[in-house]
């Protein structure tokens, strides 16, 4: 009985959690969530990231991004990329390297 109530409660909680996906998308936990937290709109980044030419593995990507985002966050990293000429073409779009890599990680995660 107790187990049944707990199971029903868990199912309800899970349902409510998924219901809130309508407002805030939830993603399964990954080892890179600390990096992916820099993305405000992870769904859009995932779409963009799917077009990033395949190259680095997620772990390597995450390590590289941790280094570049650590000091001042994504905005500063992106601006620094642009100033230094570190731009990448993603499906033809010229984007800052850190944005492209972060999007690629989102797509792989």
């Amino acid at each position: 009985m107790v187990a049944g109530v707990m199971a029903a409660g868990a199912a309800l909680a899970a349902g409510l959690y998924r219901f809130t996906d309508l407002f805030v998308k939830h993603y399964p936990a990954t080892p890179y969530d600390d990096v992916l937290a820099a993305l405000v709109d992870r769904a859009q980044a995932t779409k963009l990231g799917a077009k990033v030419p395949d190259g680095l593995e997620p772990q390597a990507l995450a390590a590289r991004l941790r280094a570049s985002l650590k000091p001042d966050g994504l905005a500063a990293a992106a601006q620094s990329d642009v100033a230094a000429g570190r731009v990448i073409e993603v499906d033809g779009w010229v984007v800052p390297e850190s944005v492209a890599l972060l999007s690629a990680l989102a797509a792989k995660a």
Binding site: L39, V40, D41, Q44, A45, T46, K47, L48, K51, L74, A75, A78, Q79, V82, A83, G85, V87, E89, V90, D91, G92, W93, V94, V95, P96, S98, V99, L102, S103
Partner: protein
């Protein structure tokens, strides 16, 4: 006032003996004649066509083509008074200083003169083009409304000016516009329906002895001038020189096999890139012409700086904003993700397709040769071997990528490069019909057909005028520049013929 003479009315075996014969009544020929109006020179202006389009005359331009798809040889130019100005779009822009320089990374590049040599003639050329006051790169100060800021880098906002074009006003068609001026000049006799069929040299091959003339009505006559200026357009200039091969077997001025080589045009591929402006609004001067209170008609374009050309070894280009378009799913994702990362609101972003005019690298194998087929007057027709190198596209792509980077740097927008493969570029290809390069200038006869004054190497009394002289092409439309170069020739002729 002498008025126009229809060559078909000349008695058979007529021999005309002017001081100067100008072959071709297009922008170069007319500008030269007007520059010499009032000089103590008896001048004939010899125009193949009449006052208006005639299909039989136009047909003499048809020829063969090989290589990259290109405008038919009888479609990209016009053979009647005013020449190809009769289908001119009116775009004017002076060549940049860098266009004249030798570029180490571009074989065969460089003019034998600098931009400074043309500067005294630009204002007069501008007036002949009826393009209003000289503004060009001071356009930024003259515009109302915000210009798109670009971050520091290789491109800047540059400007076209236009020959009158606004609403229903057409550009300056030189034949119609200057018909009365030509009639009014006492020392100029313009002939229409007067086709040069051969440039005959003296036996020593050092000077022109006579021009053989014909009309489509069957008339034949002769012109024996002291001096000749060939101003028939870059295709026809080469054709006449190559076909006049009785004394010099390879053709007049072709002792080094250069006549007809280095043909060039400006590729104008469509929809080369997608521009997103985060703030949405874009000043009207980008997508269309705007008329300033002083009458200047202007349009903005993105141009690489001379420093960028040198640093990145790229070629000239002018990138323009064309139409408003919609983004696809990936584009939307790119804009949202990038704008958020930059801390910019892109909720009202708008996007536009970009077009361009590209500079080709000089290529000796992009050339005009004669075929066995002949036109109605017995002149061999031309064949064009048209080439465009993968590197021409690749270099322009680098310029576009830099524009994209500068937009990100200013946080005002971003760019998509739409083409990465040769077949994509070629599928979008159109041409400016800016024929250039076939009688290129060089002080070295082994590198050019004419010298810095336009005099054919080895021939003492034969000059060439027009954009066939351009050894490197830049990305500016040629009309204004070829007129300035021709006006410079006018001053030179005044001195040497005095």
């Amino acid at each position: 006032m002498t008025g126009f003479i229809d060559a078909r009315s000349l008695p058979a075996a007529t021999v005309l003996e002017p001081d100067l014969a100008i072959i071709g009544g297009g922008p170069a020929g007319i500008s030269l004649a007007l520059a010499l109006a009032g000089a103590k020179l008896n001048i004939l202006l010899l125009e193949s066509g009449g006052m208006n389009f005639d299909s039989k005359t136009q047909k003499m331009y048809s020829g063969a083509e090989a290589g990259v798809r290109y405008t038919a040889l009888d479609a990209g130019r016009l053979r009647f008074l005013g020449g190809s100005s009769n289908h001119w779009g009116g775009y004017c822009r002076p060549l940049d200083e860098a266009d004249f320089a030798v570029r180490d990374w571009v074989p065969h590049s460089g003019w034998p003169i600098t931009r400074k040599a043309l500067e005294p003639y630009f204002q007069k050329a501008q007036a002949l083009c009826e393009a209003g006051p000289w503004i060009y790169d001071k356009g930024n100060e003259a515009q109302e409304g915000p210009l798109l800021p670009l971050g520091k880098g290789g491109l800047y906002t540059s400007w076209f000016q236009f020959s009158k074009t606004r609403d229903s006003v057409l550009p300056t068609y030189f034949g119609h516009r200057y018909e009365q001026d030509l009639k009014a000049a006492r020392n100029i006799t313009p002939y229409v329906n007067a086709n040069v069929t051969a440039i005959r040299l003296n036996k020593d091959a050092k000077s022109v002895e006579r021009l053989e003339m014909a009309t489509l009505a069957g008339g034949r006559f002769t012109v024996k001038p002291r001096m000749v200026v060939l101003a028939a357009g870059a295709m026809e200039n080469a054709r006449l020189l190559l076909a006049s091969n009785d004394v010099m077997p390879a053709g007049v001025g072709n002792q080094n096999d250069l006549v007809g080589r280095f043909f060039a045009d400006h590729p104008i591929p469509r929809d080369v890139a997608t521009l997103v402006v985060f703030g949405g609004a874009l000043a009207p001067c980008y997508g269309s012409t705007v008329t300033l209170p002083n009458g200047a008609v202007m349009r903005a374009a993105f141009s690489p700086t001379g420093e960028f050309l040198k640093a990145k070894n790229v070629a000239g280009s002018l990138t323009t904003v064309e139409n408003a378009i919609e983004l696809d799913e990936t584009g939307t994702a790119a804009v949202i993700t990038t704008a958020i990362a930059l801390g910019v609101d892109a909720s009202v972003a708008k996007c536009y397709s970009l077009g361009c005019g590209m500079e080709l690298a000089p290529d000796p194998d992009r050339r005009l040769t004669l075929t066995g087929e002949k036109d109605a007057l017995g002149l061999p027709r031309l064949k064009l071997d048209m080439h465009i190198a993968d590197s021409d596209f690749a270099l322009y792509r680098q310029t576009l990528a830099e524009l994209g980077r500068q937009l990100l740097a200013s946080k005002t927008g971003m760019l998509r490069l739409n083409y990465s493969r040769r077949e994509q570029w070629l599928a979008a290809m159109d041409w400016g019909n800016h024929h250039m390069g076939t009688t290129r200038m060089s002080e070295d006869p082994k590198q050019g057909v004419v010298n810095a004054d336009g005099l054919v190497h080895g021939i003492g009394n034969l000059y060439v005028a027009g954009s066939s002289l351009f050894p490197t092409y830049g990305s500016s439309n040629p009309t204004l520049n070829l007129i300035a170069l021709t006006l410079r020739l006018g001053d030179h002729l005044k001195k040497v013929m005095a």
